[in-house]
């Protein structure tokens, strides 16, 4: 399943507020993987560790030119990471700040890439690229 499809499904299913640290993610519907059937759970741990570090120690971004991810955005990204982990979706290859208060999850395969961009203004978009071309862009929230 593409990141876009997963993200759209997750967006549609998330119906309550997601809390920081992801310990009490809003429950999603019936397709949660059980621990025994999970393939990708471990892939998410470094992602969650990184996001939790950004939540607890925002000073890791100490550059004067760029804005660190806002607590709101970090919280939202943790919630999404947990929701996608619970559904046993593959973790992103990269999780990086966008320099303006937002966060990007990215999966890459050859020249193809998919980004889940949590913008500083609250918007969430999936951006799919092939080489230098944007081939799809969907605003989820």
């Amino acid at each position: 399943m593409s990141l876009l499809a997963e993200a759209e499904q997750t967006a549609a299913e998330q119906n309550t507020e997601i809390t920081p640290r992801g310990r009490s993610v809003s429950s999603t519907k019936s397709d949660l993987a059980t621990p025994a059937t999970r393939q990708f759970g471990r892939q998410w741990q470094p992602v969650l560790d990184k996001l939790n570090l950004w939540w607890t120690d925002p000073e890791v971004f100490d550059d004067e030119d760029y804005e660190r991810p806002s607590p709101n955005v970090v919280s939202k990204a943790i919630g999404w990471a947990n929701a996608l982990k619970e559904k046993d979706r593959p973790a992103p290859h990269r999780v990086v700040p966008d320099g303006s208060g937002g966060i990007i999850f990215e999966r890459r395969s050859g020249i193809h890439s998919e980004k889940l961009h949590f913008w500083d203004d609250g918007k969430i978009e999936v951006i799919e690229m092939s080489g230098h071309k944007v081939i799809d862009r969907v605003r989820l929230i």
């Binding site: 100490d62 804005e67 990269r94």
Partner: protein
């Protein structure tokens, strides 16, 4: 003061904070060229004619910086416009240039994504310098 045109033979520097992971495993990602919300007229780079790599790398980040180098000829071949912008809020700086095609106003557009991706590829042509950690 005179604004000196940018020559095709010049190289432009872009500073990348290590903590962002926009340069990782010897790959520069388009994220390294994302406009900030306050970059209304274009993202900033610096001319090698007026600034050394070490000078560009100076900053407060504890983890330090990498510095990417982009040849002006490569940028122009790709149709990317670079303009000298020495008149900065901090004063006159002959080294300061901007890429007006990437700015705060279009940072959430396909155009920006595509240009960032192109810039990342061009920035991979020359070696990335660093990392540099400023100790004060």
């Amino acid at each position: 003061m005179n604004v000196e045109p940018i020559g095709d033979d010049e190289v432009l520097y872009r500073r990348i904070p290590v903590s962002t992971a926009w340069y990782a495993d010897k790959v520069i990602y388009g994220d390294a060229f994302q406009p900030r919300k306050d970059e209304h007229t274009g993202i900033s780079l610096f001319r090698d004619k007026f600034r050394t790599v070490e000078e560009v790398a100076k900053g407060k980040a504890k983890q330090g910086y990498y510095v990417a180098s982009l040849r002006v000829s490569d940028l122009r071949r790709a149709g990317i416009i670079v303009e000298p912008r020495p008149d900065t809020p901090e004063g006159w700086d002959n080294a300061h240039v901007e890429i007006p095609g990437l700015n705060a106003g279009n940072r959430q557009t396909n155009e920006a994504e595509e240009l960032q991706s192109q810039l990342a590829e061009i920035a991979m042509i020359l070696p990335v310098a660093g990392k540099f950690v400023t100790t004060e």
